[in-house]
Amino acid sequence: MTEMLNAQEIWQSQPSEGMQMSAEAIRKRATKFERKIWRRNLRESVAAVVVIVAFSYFFVTAHDIPYRITWALFIAGMVWVIVQLYRKGKPKTMPADIGSSTCLEFFRSELERQRDLVKDVWTWYLAPMVPGYVALNVAWAVNRPSKLAVMALLDVCFVVLFIGVWQLNVWAARCLQRSIDQLPSAENPR
């Protein structure tokens, strides 16, 4: 028992930097912190934005309607993905009622949110790209009927990539579900 008390004592007697802020300072920091998170989220969306810019260029310079439809559908798909990522991703700031959830409830809900995000990846991440890809096949067939074999090869790569990404996320969802299943049931009243 002596060892326990001393472990607690060693833990509690750590040197402290004494971070303390006035209410005014915390308000300023909260605003600054939100800006920081906003910039971080923006950085995370940069790749998608670059792709949208590239697709927009293809859209503007496309010579015929089928290709324009193709790029327009790809752009719409990418915008949909970004919106869904923003909505379903990591909470931008902690909810104000965070203190009313026990750690178990909060942890479970976070794991469930992440599980649902990866489990439904087909609906919000992969499927939005399918209309654009189908339109690309049509545009290709109309414009280059002699090179259908090339498109067929691309189709195979596309399908393999889709299935790969989908299965990877299914596996991640299973891992998260295992973590959820291992959590003890909430038995303690709030």
Partner: protein
């Protein structure tokens, strides 16, 4: 509105002055990198300040503060865990660690603290909540209220923690 803000500010000031050091220790247990830890601590303080807008007194102030801090930290761990693909373990798995003191004399307090931190940082969030609350001197009932674990579950975990700490730190921290 001004009254709500004033209560919120007062509650925050109270919390920061009473539990500031504990929050710092908590952040240290959840993040080893100094820069990221500073961000995490700041995030905890901001979440705490925000949360007081909705504090209804249905639980004690201490329970509320620890819930907010642990929940923010758990969210951080989940995010970092996926980014770094680090393997976290439960208390049961840590019980199989070899005795750290075999063939080694008692070291100084800072060494003991480093090892204690390293041990805590390997734990899954819920087990980390329990061991930290225990090290902060909270009783089983309070730990149950913060974590939402049943009293039986908390008792089992504390029993494991005590055995683990005894095995890992026996002789090292007991001879001051």
């Amino acid at each position: 509105m001004a009254a709500v803000e004033s209560t919120q500010d007062e509650l925050y000031q109270d919390a920061a002055s009473t539990y500031g050091a504990a929050l710092e220790r908590l952040a240290r247990a959840y993040e080893a990198d100094v820069e990221i830890r500073r961000d995490l601590l700041q995030e905890i303080h901001i979440a705490l300040w925000r949360s007081f807008e909705g504090f209804d007194g249905r639980c004690s102030l201490r329970t509320w503060i620890y819930r907010v801090a642990h929940n923010v930290a758990a969210s951080h761990v989940l995010h970092q865990f996926r980014a770094r693909s680090r393997m976290l373990v439960g208390l049961e798995e840590l019980e199989n660690l070899p005795d750290a003191n075999s063939g080694q004399h008692a070291a100084d307090r800072s060494h003991a603290l480093d090892r204690l931190l390293a041990l805590i940082q390997r734990l899954k969030p819920l087990d980390r909540h329990v061991i930290l609350s225990y090290l902060e001197g909270l009783d089983a009932a309070s730990i149950g209220e913060i974590t939402g674990l049943s009293s039986g579950n908390v008792a089992t975990k504390i029993h494991r923690i005590k055995a683990l700490l005894a095995r890992q730190f026996q002789g090292e921290v007991g001879h001051d």
